[in-house]
């Protein structure tokens, strides 16, 4: 069976507006979910978890968050890593202050705290747009990193200035800390991504999402049909920061385990997330996942091909990787500014008519 929508009639608005209106997509999506939840955990090992799956899932959350802000609401932000740091430090403080708190509660609370911080830094967006807003969020990035470096309260006065995650269990299984198994880490991230992915999709297809897109596309026209720019922009900042905060929390608790703020949440991380959004596709949920997957997998593939396959020295490969990344970003900006999501949409459009294009 291949890609078909002929004969797939919709008889209600619910069916017409469902997430995957075409049966082929629906079947594949749920097959993939079954694979991801029920098959991969049995085969995953530390290398696959740490190099591919866990970073992909965490970056997917951050990319979803930034895509809501930049792709859907049109507000450029360069402060993503700063907000991730807020999420990470919030979970650290919560975990050390309330040792009995459930891990998932901590993750959600960290997201909520980041949402508050993000909303505060979103206030300038009511006055300034475009590049100027980007600069304002850049200030947030540097300020937050500086803050977490300078105030010892945030890292509980530890001598190294690092924060490291304490072990937390659920149902007797270690979720965080060095004892956590690859499968557990993977499943925790996957579950959170699954829920957040649906939330992002729901928010962007309804009333709130349309108000964001209206602000992005034509702010004065949005106002005359009753969208309050203040509420639309600040809600986008809040939701976006909530997602990014959760990403930061997982990045610290699950992925890295120990964090030094300047290293883990520097400006390069902000740019990386922005690139994921751009390459994946602005204003697309699918694009957020595609962009995150692309930029996480690319270096791994290149490294395996160049170092493992061709036997090049790893420093040469590392530099080549930078160059290829840069070239790819320029390529995407020129050829397909709407990213992988658009490429995918075009392919699907072609497949609708295949094999009889007329």
């Amino acid at each position: 069976m291949y890609y078909r929508e002929a004969g797939d009639f919709k008889t209600s608005y619910r069916k017409d507006q469902q997430n995957f209106p075409i049966r082929f997509d629906r079947v594949h999506f749920w097959t993939m979910m079954v694979l991801a939840f029920a098959v991969i955990p049995f085969f995953i090992n530390d290398y696959w978890a740490n190099a591919v799956f866990v970073p992909f899932l965490i970056y997917a959350i951050a990319t979803l968050g930034l895509n809501i802000l930049t792709g859907y609401c049109g507000q450029v932000s360069l402060g993503s890593a700063g907000f991730m740091a807020v999420g990470a430090y919030a979970s650290y403080k919560l975990m050390t202050s309330f040792p009995d708190l459930n891990f998932f509660v901590i993750v959600v609370l960290s997201g909520a705290i980041t949402a508050l911080v993000g909303t505060a830094f979103g206030l300038p967006s009511l006055r300034i747009k475009g590049f100027y807003l980007a600069v304002a969020t850049l200030a947030a990035q540097f300020f937050l990193v500086w803050l977490f470096n300078k105030v010892p309260w945030f890292y509980n006065n530890s001598a190294s200035g690092q924060i490291s995650v304490p072990r937390r269990d659920m149902f007797g299984i270690a979720i965080t800390g060095p004892e956590a198994s690859a499968a557990t880490k993977y499943l925790v991230c996957l579950a959170i991504v699954f829920v957040l992915g649906f939330i992002a999709r729901n928010l962007t297809r309804g009333r709130i999402g349309r108000s964001w897109m209206a602000i992005r596309d034509m702010d004065f026209a949005a106002e005359i049909i009753g969208v309050d720019p203040l509420r639309a922009k600040l809600s986008a900042f809040a939701i976006s920061s909530f997602f990014i905060g959760i990403a930061g929390s997982l990045f610290f608790t699950i992925y890295l385990g120990a964090v030094e703020v300047g290293e883990a949440f520097g400006i390069e991380r902000s740019f990386l997330i922005l690139f994921m959004v751009i390459i994946g596709g602005l204003g697309s949920i699918y694009g957020s996942f595609a962009g995150a997957a692309f930029l996480v997998l690319m270096p791994v593939l290149l490294k395996n091909a160049l170092v493992g396959g061709l036997g090049w020295p790893s420093d040469v490969a590392a530099h080549l990787e930078f160059m290829i990344m840069g070239a790819l970003i320029i390529f995407f900006l020129i050829v397909e500014p709407h990213g992988l999501a658009r490429l995918w949409a075009v392919t699907k459009q072609k497949l609708r008519l295949w094999p009889f294009p007329y």
Partner: protein, 268 residues
Amino acid sequence: MTSTVTPDGRTIGDVLLEVKNITLRFGGVEAIKNISFDVREGEIRAIIGPNGAGKSSMLNVINGFYHPQEGEIFFHGRKRNAMKPSQIARQGIARTFQNIALFKGMNTLDNIMTGCFTHMKTSLLEQAIWWGRAEREEYVYREKVEHIIDFLEIQAIRKTPVGALPYGLQKRVELARALAAEPKLLLLDEPMAGMNVEEKEDMCRFILDVNAEFGTTTVLIEHDMGVVMDISDRVVVLDYGRKIGDGVPDEVRSNQEVIDAYLGVAHD
């Protein structure tokens, strides 16, 4: 109650909107000078005048983009305080723009659905879960929007991105978006600018149908005199920010000052 019935059988009710002694200045430039007029419920009111007469500024005052230095606006008989455009939209005033202001990144359906924004009530949390109220609300408004789509005969472009549509259809989608807000007062800024005769005729028919079917009070700015004189109940004429004529089309047509403004007059 001072309702009257027009020759074509529509009922025109009380005063819905009244602007009184409005003066609007941009620095030293007086865009609108001491203008008053009223709009009655159910009527089609045209604002005409040469370029730069202050017509669009007047609409911008009515829907809250500009705040006049002097003068008062009464809506439903109550004095209106200075408000943000989004608040005024909530009171039931919708509009279209002279140069199309559609949301280019969305398709036709989403554009029109955005028009329902003020009527949709579900909270952020309900939207995030998309279960029960949020979902039901979406389909209730989808059905309303489908009625408008049928009404304006744009079924075929429902899922087309609006950027890909021709000009005339974009204008129609913009009208649909304004109608989706179920406005009490509809402001149309040059709904027929840049259209060919056929498209103009279509648009005229839609404006008249909207007025007849939903009883929507309409204020429109238009340059095509034939259209204005045909479809409007009363006409306001502006020139250089002043009001130079006000009345039924026949009165306005024979007003010497109006003729001078349009044809030019010898200065001696």
